[in-house]
Symmetry: C2
DNA sequence: TTGAAAGCGTTACCAG
DNA sequence: CTGGTAACGCTTTCAA
């Protein structure tokens, strides 16, 4: 409970000097600096965050809003953010804003308005229009990881391109009957922006290859069990079974692989599956995929945000990362 | 940016009265209360958290420390905590303290010392002795979800009993050669306390049933791929293959199921597997398991913590939840 | 029932 | 290079 006054007294200086010595800002003789530091150390002095915040206007805290925390991508981004903030000595306040919940409404209405942070990172938030308004009302820098809009800086992977390359990979292997699995409006969850972009990439590729007639999108929850369920349906019917599947993400792709195995459909000889993400399970299922590294996106978002906090006039940025293709053995040429 | 002074001015009262009217503490005539409220509303007044904290000593913020955020159990607990805090209007500051990292050291050394929270929830932390010291130094109420010790209140499932019932389930079905899969010291990660308790429960059951000779523990990372890897090894060898497996948790159990399927070993006719958790994938794999509901543990931890914050003299509590057995079709009597 | 004023623990400005 | 002092925005006695 020692305050800066105690430290100052012990070091035989004024509070002002003690403050300067400790924070490193302003002139202090090397001599007194050492003395003050020692006093602080001896007393186990820890500055009161609230007081510092009041005086400086900086909370030393970053807010993070995301719709889920239990899905791979989000958890990874969160870890990336957390780790990076740690090196900067900043705290992280988490807001779990699940779409369509009253909790989300409260977060947007009350919590964010409190501005208990110097900046905000929004991960895959897909804010509704009025939510977007509330966000900009805050008047603090915002960086979004994934997402659309030009209000805030964005860090993301090029989803459209990733989906196109995934699709082209199958086309190059000789597939024509390629379905796109996952995403869409189901059970009240809205069609996520990323998912739409990926679907669009698939569509474009199919059309460019003259395969428009084969285009089809099978909606699902964007989870592993979700992918499993619709894949089981799709693959259960022998007629109309595609030879290739582009999944909206690895979780869905893996669900499909598990479904295929259960049905005795050999992957890749009878069915090729490609995902997007490079999920932690991808290797175990030998899944060919387009890799993104969410941790790095989280880290990049933090650096970007800190830059914008330091210089609010800094222009908005859009940092698109490139997904690297990792070919494993879930894809092959279709058997004749 | 409107402050309470502005609100007071607009309502024609003093700051003191405005404060009372808004916070609801102290006498204020119904009339002025309404007037103040209206003024606050009109001005879009939001109290400054830092200032409130300085004046009251309460941060309206709860800290959460956990070693992982990307594993099912932890993510679920986190959601439970978050949701409950939301209803109380409290913020949540997250500290991701992965074992053996320098980040963890910083969290325990610097971050927690700042006390930017009114109380702390430690989830599956298994703190080392010196970390435990640092934790108690903080001087704020702490509740731990899972874990040992008597310094803090605890919310947990009865792991020992859960593991015993899982084991007994297999024994009752007629199994004798039952292995315990998962957990242990591997790759630097320390033997988690929960895992040890579950192993102990398995051991006790085996011994009580006179099956001590069959006892064996196969270590693994406590993840789905971790379970897959060791199960593939274990089951690949026809001799010495057990007829039953008790997994340290559902993730490991599911990894084992996937491995068994790949090896063409029928579950449950050739191999019974039981897990603990009721993971989100459990249903999809028809896994028999002992259910715990981490969300509820998170919620319970919050309520407990708030009670201790309100009354610091409140005695420490230990809230053991009962795991319910859910029998699906991953277990059956061994074929003769 | 209300208001004035004294903190809460820092930082930052302005003299010295 | 250092010290006094006024903020920062709110709550909370203490009087009135």
């Amino acid at each position: 409970m020692a305050g800066i006054a105690d430290v100052a007294a012990r070091a035989g200086v004024s509070k002002a000097t003690a403050s300067r010595a400790l924070s490193g800002s302003g002139y202090v003789s090397e001599d007194t600096r050492v003395r003050v530091r020692a006093a602080a150390e001896a007393l186990g002095y820890v500055p009161s965050a609230g007081a510092v915040g009041l005086a400086t206007g900086r909370t030393q805290n970053i807010g993070v809003v995301m719709p889920y925390v239990n899905r791979w991508f989000f958890a990874e981004v969160l870890e990336g953010i957390q780790q990076t903030l740690l090196t900067h000595g900043l705290d992280l306040t988490l807001y779990d804003a699940k779409p369509g919940t009253t909790g989300r409404a409260r977060i947007f209405g009350d919590f964010l308005a409190r501005k208990r942070f110097d900046g905000l990172i929004a991960v895959g938030l897909d804010p509704a229009d009025h939510e977007l308004d509330q966000l900009t009302q805050i008047g603090r820098p915002i960086v979004s990881v994934v997402g659309a809009g030009d209000q805030a800086s964005i860090v993301a992977v090029d989803d459209d391109s990733a989906a196109r390359r995934a699709t082209q990979h199958l086309i190059t292997l000789g597939h024509t009957d390629i379905a796109f699995l996952g995403g869409g409006d189901r059970g009240g969850t809205q069609w996520a922006h990323v998912d739409q972009q990926r679907l669009a990439g698939y569509r474009r590729s199919m059309e460019e290859a003259g395969l428009a007639e084969f285009e089809r999108h099978i909606a699902s929850d964007v989870t592993l069990p979700g992918g499993y369920a619709v894949a089981a349906d799709l693959l259960g019917d022998t007629r109309g079974r595609p030879t290739g599947i582009v999944a909206v993400c690895d979780e869905v792709a893996i669900g499909a692989i598990i479904a295929a195995r259960r049905l005795g459909i050999a992957v890749p000889s009878a069915l090729s599956i490609v995902g997007i993400d490079d999920h932690e399970f991808a290797e175990m299922f030998s899944l060919t995929t387009l890799q993104q590294i969410p941790r790095e996106q989280g880290a990049a978002a933090v650096e970007l945000l800190l830059a914008e906090i330091a210089d609010p006039a800094r222009p908005r940025t859009r940092e698109l990362m490139h997904a690297r293709m990792i070919v494993r053995t879930s894809t092959a040429s279709p058997s004749v």
